[in-house]
């Protein structure tokens, strides 16, 4: 089979209308060259950083509260998520219970009319992020790098299914994931754990050491959520050899890793708050951590980021994503070995992925997720979607951007995506999109450009014989050869 087509589809988002002209005669070299380049698309410059979103939100909320205090009638009953993360602020204006209780009222910024000015700002942020991400992947000259960004963002899922996190999921990907895809795994873990979006999503920003200054007041205490998922999902893996005590120890170590607010630290940024850090000695994975404030967390993250179980867990997840739902053991072993030998150098690990013979020989074992299916169809036709179209399409196909159902992220196997209902939805979407653009393309030429000899002759023939151009294009997008990679 055509190696350039495989390179484009397996490691990227598929070929464009010009086929594989840009790839040239060395598909492996083309993939590896993408790992050395900076990966910040130009359209990201206009997007606001997380801290700005958080601060803007706080200010607008503050103004509305002030207006209410001055006697102006509020537009609706006040049930808003608080985004004032300082523990002092939390104490003086209601605890985290009030915040979480109010969460659903913040609503999905995509749906319904915004109730408050801050919601309008947040909705704009979500649309802008979605549009920028979509443009980045559909138009990227470095699609392998973009796939890696999406892979790692899913590995370290921050899901907007918790409304308070929704506007920050995009900036999380830009700030904590994207800069590190070719760097060290340890740096990515640290950036993730220190990002306000993860702090909010897995509750660590309000986790209070029971014996800390704030904890001793007795109102607040420990939250294990981040400690557990960091071990189970992000690093060692569920069978990685840690125990319940380690989950709790890590949670204690990470107390104080919070977010700055109006009264503490740098507003909207990661801030270590010593007043909520659990003091004293901790034992984590058999090692003793003497009291060292924020240093304990830095040391613990370094340990788990370089752990052999982590190497194996990460290697397996990469192999499942890029090679096969049940990846060959040899490939997982080799990737884990490279991870260990290079101290978690993700540039080296990604390059090793390209070198795995199974990544080429087991072609068409993987099924595209809805996001990848839509992006590859848009890429194939050389078009783009408006942010509103992108959001609507992904919602309907069951994979809203940054809306994974749980911290485990989106599933990565065929069984999860290809049920009777899901296949129909994909066909319906293929037809709807082909109806819009199908009259402007030659479906047979496009089939040859993006699939080459990776589609069986009889299937190519079926496309050629379709009753109309749009029907033919719908068949191309719905064909197993296009949906598999």
């Amino acid at each position: 089979m055509n190696q350039a087509i495989i390179a484009a589809s397996r490691f990227g988002y598929g070929a464009g209308p010009d086929g594989t002209a840009a790839i040239g005669g060395d598909p492996r070299g083309w993939l590896k060259a993408q790992l050395g380049r900076p990966q910040i698309p130009s359209n990201f410059a206009a997007l606001p950083p997380s801290a700005e979103l958080i601060v803007t939100y706080q200010q607008l909320q503050q103004q509305r509260r002030q207006a209410k205090a001055d006697g102006d009638p509020p537009p609706r009953p006040v049930r808003m998520a608080r985004l004032d993360p300082s523990p002092q602020g939390a104490d003086s204006r209601g605890g985290p219970e009030e915040m979480a209780a109010a969460e659903p009222a913040m609503a999905d910024p995509q749906r319904g009319q915004p109730r408050f000015p801050e919601q309008k700002v947040l909705r704009q942020a979500v649309l802008a992020e979605t549009g920028a991400k979509f443009d980045a992947v559909t138009g990227s000259p470095t699609p392998f790098a973009e796939r890696l960004v999406s892979f790692w963002a899913n590995h370290f899922t921050v899901s907007g299914i918790r409304p308070v996190v929704r506007p920050l999921a995009g900036s999380f990907e830009r700030e904590a994931i994207r800069p590190h895809i070719n760097g060290r795994f340890e740096d990515m873990v640290l950036a993730v754990v220190q990002h306000p979006a993860m702090g909010l999503y897995l509750d660590n920003w309000v986790s209070v050491g029971p014996d800390s200054k704030v904890g001793l007041r007795g109102k607040r205490g420990l939250n294990e959520n981040l400690g557990r998922e960091l071990l189970e999902l992000h690093t060692l893996g569920v069978d990685g050899g840690y125990r319940e005590e380690d989950v709790r120890a890590l949670a204690r170590i990470l107390t104080g890793w919070s977010i700055g607010g109006p009264r503490v630290g740098d507003p909207g940024h990661f801030t270590f708050v010593p007043q909520i850090h659990q003091p004293g000695l901790k034992i984590f994975l058999g090692q003793t951590y003497p009291e060292a404030g924020m240093g304990e967390g830095l040391a613990a993250i370094r340990t788990i980021a370089h752990h052999p179980s982590t190497a194996r867990h990460v290697a397996r997840r990469l192999a499942v994503h890029f090679i096969a739902d049940q990846p060959p053991r040899a490939a997982v072993d080799r990737l884990a070995q490279v991870f260990m030998q290079t101290g978690g150098d993700l540039h080296a690990v990604s390059a090793a992925l390209v070198d795995q013979p199974e990544a080429w020989s087991l072609y068409q074992q993987k099924i595209k997720s809805p996001f990848d299916l839509v992006v590859s169809a848009i890429r194939a036709t050389g078009r783009s979607l408006t942010p509103e179209q992108a959001v609507g399409t992904l919602d309907r196909l069951g994979q809203g951007l940054h809306m994974a159902p749980s911290p485990a992220g989106w599933p990565d196997d065929a069984a999860a995506w290809i049920g009777p209902e899901a296949v129909l939805r994909r066909v319906e979407w293929a037809q709807a999109y082909a109806d819009q653009v199908g009259n402007d393309v030659d479906p047979v030429m496009l089939t040859d450009a993006v699939l080459g000899d990776t589609i069986a002759p009889d299937q190519r023939q079926a496309i050629a014989r379709a009753e109309s151009r749009p029907t033919a294009l719908a068949m191309l997008f719905a064909s197993p050869a296009f949906q598999r990679r």
Binding site: S406, G419, P420, E421, A422
Partner: protein, 420 residues
């Protein structure tokens, strides 16, 4: 002792015969042409509702009469019966969270059975591991990932292999329903239905593909049944989609799913076993007592269950709904007025076929806690599921012990859960 435990019911005899001779043959021998003529081997319905994320059972069904309740639950203790938003008392020990008011009438009608202190028999506090094990019907991972309900369908369907008796409601098929028996799935439609000629061409194109071929065939078949039962494109009389809100997020998403499941299960030629997922139960922070995320979710659950009864119509009398979750949550609030991952939660059985209005199984009390933090397990969820499968769906006990819940002979089916 319950007489129903010892007397084999007619259904169990049929089930046993069905298992050995093939169900059609068994029914013909017994001269029951009406049932034999019916498309499905059973007319009973089973709905499993999986609450993903670990339901705080002590908040849903508070043991307000337990002497340690208020002290152990601390800030999460609910207002006592009679107070504003107070617990709705069921007996002297247990009550319902006020947010579950929609199902309270079922208790009075004998259609709601509570099984407190339930857990899956496995030891993990990982959601993903626990959900997998709960759905696979195992206490530790081994073998291919297939679901216990799919394996039960092998026995329930008997020789009727062409009929899709299982139904997954939602965007994907949960592990509990995955396996060798083909099942139907339904999800709220929000795209224009595909052109039949395109579907015909694709059916041909997919013929050689083991994944896409069967999935499309099943999808097309299921869609025609859905259209017949729910109306083409599921449009209401106002011209708007009937299930517009379904498929979204949050507590309100459950009710339309329950409505569709009820409609499909009620149809003469429809499925008999359905699974509905509902998420949002992982309440680590500020879960709230009478207001908040948990209360909203419980209200969504209760409303959906009431809707399920309405949509099932007369078929409700032949229905058992099993509501369960992967594990419970800590008894005491954590430091952020939420609860962390625990051990035992609660299971609910609802339906006209349930022998309800009572509490089943033991109550370990809040005195001694598991690892000094969790409610201890009194009843294994497999015992509940086995009791329902045996007495309501006619699954042979030997099949239950070996195939449906492998190596589970030591977990006896809970008897007397249903009106037989």
């Amino acid at each position: 002792m319950n007489p129903h435990d010892t007397l084999p019911s007619r259904r169990r005899i049929l089930g046993t015969l069905g298992g050995t001779l093939g169900l059609g043959a068994g029914l013909a021998i017994l001269g029951l042409p009406r049932i034999a003529y019916a498309a499905a081997p059973t007319d009973n319905r089973l709905v499993v509702i999986l609450l993903r994320g670990a339901l705080d059972g002590l908040a849903a069904v508070p043991p307000y009469g337990d002497p340690r309740y208020a002290e152990r639950r601390n800030g999460l203790a609910l207002p006592m019966p009679g107070q504003p938003d107070g617990i709705l008392p069921l007996d002297h020990t247990f009550g319902l969270n006020a947010a579950l008011a929609a199902i309270q009438p079922m208790w009075g009608a004998g259609e709601l059975l509570i099984v407190p202190a339930t857990a899956g028999g496995y030891h993990t506090r990982s959601h993903f591991d626990a959900q997998d094990l709960l759905e696979m019907g195992l206490v530790e991972r081994h073998g291919a990932p297939t679901g216990w309900l799919n394996r039960a369908l092998v026995d329930i369907q008997g020789n009727d292999r062409n009929r899709r008796l299982g139904l997954a409601v939602g965007p994907s098929i949960p592990l509990m329903l995955r396996g060798g028996v083909a099942v139907a799935s339904w999800e709220p439609p929000n795209l224009k239905a595909a052109d039949p000629t395109l579907l015909a061409s694709l059916t041909q194109m997919y013929a050689g593909d083991k994944l896409f071929g069967p999935a499309l065939a099943d999808g097309v078949k299921a869609q025609s049944l859905d259209d017949e039962v729910l109306g083409a494109n599921s449009m209401g009389s106002d011209g708007k989609p009937r299930f517009a809100k379904a498929g979204g997020y949050g507590p309100g998403a459950f009710r339309p799913m329950a409505e569709a499941a009820g409609g499909l299960l009620a149809a003469a030629g429809g499925p008999r076993v359905a699974v509905i997922d509902m998420g949002g139960w992982d309440t680590h922070v500020g879960q709230g007592t009478v207001k908040g995320r948990l209360a909203d979710n419980l209200r969504g659950l209760g409303d959906g269950l009431a809707q399920l009864k309405t949509s099932l119509g007369p078929a409700w009398s032949r229905t058992v709904v099993l509501v369960m979750t992967e594990f419970g949550r800590t008894v005491a609030p954590n430091g952020t007025n939420g609860t962390d991952h625990g051990t035992a939660s609660v299971a609910l059985l609802l339906g006209g076929a349930v022998k309800g209005g009572r509490i089943a199984g033991d109550w370990p009390g809040l005195g001694q806690l598991e690892e000094n933090r969790d409610l201890r397990m009194a009843t294994d969820l497999r015992a509940v599921a086995k009791g329902v499968l045996r007495d309501h769906m006619g699954v042979a006990p030997a099949h239950l012990d070996s195939a449906v819940f492998p190596d589970s002979a030591g977990v006896r089916p809970m008897g007397g859960l249903v009106r037989v």
